[in-house]
């Protein structure tokens, strides 16, 4: 433990902030900002393809549902390090937390873009206005709290830089509380995001209407996605910043992923079989097609990560992580858009401006990540020996 703490004390990565990559990312983010300006001036109808049948589009399903699930890296690693007491993963905490921080903050902000009457957003937090029995209330309050908690968890990284070491000391004393909250809150709302589908009932295709198991499935995939994103992000950071690979650490992490993945697939397929929904997977429909793509994305990593040789190969690890991310992405897109049917005639496909915003948000997230990593102590100080 102490050895890790010493050798992996985080430090700013340094380097130029303006590079071709950051410029391209900034341009994409700017394009999104322009579209959002149009959205706030001319309304949702002017830029999105959402309609009365599909009151949400990719701004909710991708930016919020998938975005917050992708942002579960911090949650998953915190779960591992602090709850299961696996201190060796500690070097992954800060980078993962940073990615989560951006992912969640942007997911939270994205909700406002999608609210028709965004100026009323505070109603959900206001006693008297809030409908305390709704799942949406739980999700909104929980995600907002979690964003706050994460900024506090991450605050040691920038309090130093701001010269507020006194505040840092005080926060550090209470940090155990925020870390506990940081594990509790995502468990609550990631499962509740699944509960949202329960309410839609028969509007959701049987392949994704898992009823009372939905919260469990969404929670399991959120953790899975969290681990996958940690692998994905650690690999890209190593490449991008020309650092040594954390393959040994990630290989051990991959064992957890594998176990959890098996458990998830048992729940998922078992549920489909028990409900008799598996039949509809063998019909020639768009839903069935996307179901199989989703399942393939989950099943191939089982095979990729089964053997220790695969787990210690960074290429295989990366491929498995990307497939898992695709699987989690599809599970949510399928549940909320592809398998969602409100009546005859309604359909939805994202418009170009909607895509621009989603892409721009991702670009902004990566851009901010690069800036933070280069200027704040996030990544472990580079050790000479590649692990």
């Amino acid at each position: 433990m102490t050895e890790h703490a010493v050798s992996h004390a985080p430090a700013p990565a340094g380097g130029r902030l303006i590079s071709p990559v950051t410029v391209v990312l900034a341009a994409l983010a700017l394009a999104a900002a322009v579209v959002l300006a149009c959205r706030f001036v001319y309304g949702l109808g002017a830029v999105t393809n959402i309609n009365d049948g599909f009151p949400w589009g990719i701004w909710i399903v991708y930016d919020v549902m998938v975005g917050s699930a992708f942002a579960c890296g911090g949650y998953a690693i915190a779960l591992l390090v602090y709850i299961f007491n696996r201190g060796e993963y500690h070097p992954l905490v800060r980078p993962a937390l940073l990615a989560s921080l951006f992912g969640y903050t942007l997911a939270g902000v994205s909700v406002i873009f999608d609210l028709g009457r965004y100026w009323n957003f505070w109603h959900i937090f206001w006693p008297g206005y809030a409908q305390v029995n709704s799942v949406m209330f739980e999700v909104a309050v929980c995600i907002s709290l979690y964003i706050l908690v994460m900024w506090i968890e991450f605050s040691p990284a920038f309090l130093d830089r701001l010269g507020m070491s006194g505040a840092k000391k005080k926060i550090s004393k209470l940090m155990f509380l925020f870390i506990a909250l940081g594990v509790l809150l995502p468990s609550m709302h990631q499962s509740s995001l699944g509960s949202l589908l329960v309410i839609f009932g028969s509007q959701i295709h049987p392949l994704w209407q898992a009823g009372f198991l939905l919260p469990l499935e969404y929670l399991m995939t959120a953790v899975l996605l969290g681990f996958a994103v940690v692998v994905f992000e650690a690999t890209l950071v190593s490449l991008g910043f020309k650092r040594a690979m954390e393959t040994a650490l990630l290989a051990r992490l991959a064992r957890f992923i594998w176990g959890l993945l098996i458990a998830y697939l048992l729940v998922r397929v078992g549920d489909l079989a028990v409900r008799g929904a598996l039949v509809s997977a063998f019909r020639f429909t768009l839903e069935a097609f996307w179901f199989w793509i989703e399942m393939i994305c989950f099943v191939i990593p089982v095979w990729l990560l089964a053997a220790p040789a695969g787990r210690s190969n960074p290429g295989v690890l990366f491929a498995a992580a990307v497939m898992l991310m695709a699987g989690g992405f599809l599970l949510r897109v399928n549940g909320f858009l592809v398998g969602y049917e409100t009546g005859a005639g309604w359909h939805y496909f994202p418009s170009l401006p909607e895509l621009t915003v989603s892409v721009g948000l991702i670009a902004f997230e990566i851009l901010a990540y690069i800036v933070f990593v280069k200027t704040l102590p996030v990544l472990p100080a580079q050790s000479a020996t590649p692990r």
Partner: protein
């Protein structure tokens, strides 16, 4: 509590005089006071104050001048269906000069005006009905040898308050419609100072009466907008309180007189209704005490905007109104709801993004998998 009790006792004691004077039962009288308080948007407690003011034997002297007009304003005051209204009009105020209503004629009438002005100097209320011709020194309207301009200035000099009733007196109204051969002007223009205006063609009698009673009760005229119109009556667009408003919001319009939409009471906007740009309380207080629907739009005719300068008598009746502050926001439901569309470009873009992500990831994974290990940071295609 005690104050209310006192007021009631006081009113009750004073009432026989009113009863004799107005020939009203107490119930009818209180109903009238309550109606006026409601018209002015005053709280229920004002009712007692109004009752006290009206009961006072001392009625304000009113001099009523007629110029370029049709006497419709006077007619509407007299023809109100409320059984006792005309009595109240004549008894709440002391109408000392009114060319239509007074029995006197010729020099006798002029003498009555002069004596009323002298007796009530600085205390009488001047009501002007009709526009004032100003062209050629105002020779197009003369009463008893005096031009309208002279009469108005003479009467206004010692008046406690000046009220312009009807659209003509308010801004020139119908006589001022182009080419305006007589140079018809408003009271305010001729006097060179703002006055209270009760525009309308004709205006609702309650708006006039409420203004006068406000003066009686509180000793001052009610708050007015920038055009001199009492805010209690003219602060909302006709459109805002229109009973057909829901049809407007839902996009259901009568397209021509007698069509299906017209017969079903749809919005008259497309027939030229000026409700969206006209400020008046017609839809809330209606006309003639005849119950629901008794106002132009309620009867199926578009509002012509008679209370609004630049709209009434200026815009053609069937011309589409300008939507003043209610251009339907984008958040309003559309008439035909799109059920979703998708463009080829968006599909292509999404496919390109997915393809680039998959390809990039695959290439990255392949490079990473090579045995040379962590030596090749050769991935300029994705993210970093």
């Amino acid at each position: 509590m005690s104050e209310t009790g006192f007021d009631l006792r006081h009113s009750a004691a004073a009432f026989p005089a009113v009863e004799n004077r107005l020939g009203l039962s107490r119930r009818e009288f209180m109903e009238f006071c309550a109606a006026l308080a409601a018209t002015m948007g005053l709280p229920a407690s004002a009712e007692a104050a109004i009752a006290t003011a009206v009961e006072k034997a001392k009625r304000p002297s009113v001099i009523w001048l007629h110029f370029q007009e049709c006497t419709g304003c006077t007619e509407s005051l007299l023809r109100a269906e409320h059984p006792t209204l005309e009595k109240l009009i004549l008894d709440v105020i002391s109408l000392d000069y009114h060319e239509t209503l007074m029995a006197a004629a010729g020099h006798q009438a002029e003498a009555a005006r002069q004596s009323a002005m002298k007796a009530n100097k600085g205390k009488y209320v001047l009501v002007v009905e009709g526009a004032i011709p100003t062209k050629d020194n105002g020779i197009y309207c003369k009463v008893g040898g005096h031009t309208a301009i002279d009469m108005l200035k003479e009467c206004a000099a010692d008046a406690a308050a000046v009220i312009a009733i009807g659209s003509c007196a308010s801004w020139g109204g119908m006589p001022s419609t182009g080419p305006n051969p007589t140079g018809a002007s408003s009271v305010a223009e001729v006097l060179g100072k703002p006055v209270v205006t009760i525009p309308g063609c004709p205006p609702n009698p309650y708006n006039f009466l409420a203004t006068v009673v406000h003066f009686l009760t509180f000793g001052k005229l009610p708050a007015v907008d920038q055009l001199g119109r009492p805010k209690f009556a003219y602060s909302r667009l006709v459109h805002d309180n229109c009973e057909r408003r829901a049809h407007f919001d839902a996009g259901r319009f009568a397209m021509e007189f007698g069509d299906v939409g017209h017969r079903q009471g749809y919005c008259l906007y497309k027939l030229g209704c000026k409700g969206p740009e006209t400020y008046a309380n017609c839809p809330t207080i209606l006309f003639g005490d005849a119950g629901p629907g008794s106002w132009p739009v309620g009867c199926g005719h578009p509002c012509i905007g008679c209370t609004e300068k630049g709209v009434g008598f200026a815009k053609p009746v069937f011309q589409l109104a300008t939507l003043k502050n209610v251009v339907p926001p984008a958040s309003y439901p559309r008439i035909v709801e799109e059920q979703g569309n998708s463009s080829f470009a968006a599909a292509a873009a999404l496919a390109a993004i997915a393809g680039a992500a998959a390809g990039g990831a695959a290439m990255l994974a392949r490079n990473l998998g090579k045995p040379s290990e962590e030596s090749k940071p050769s991935a300029p295609d994705k993210a970093e």
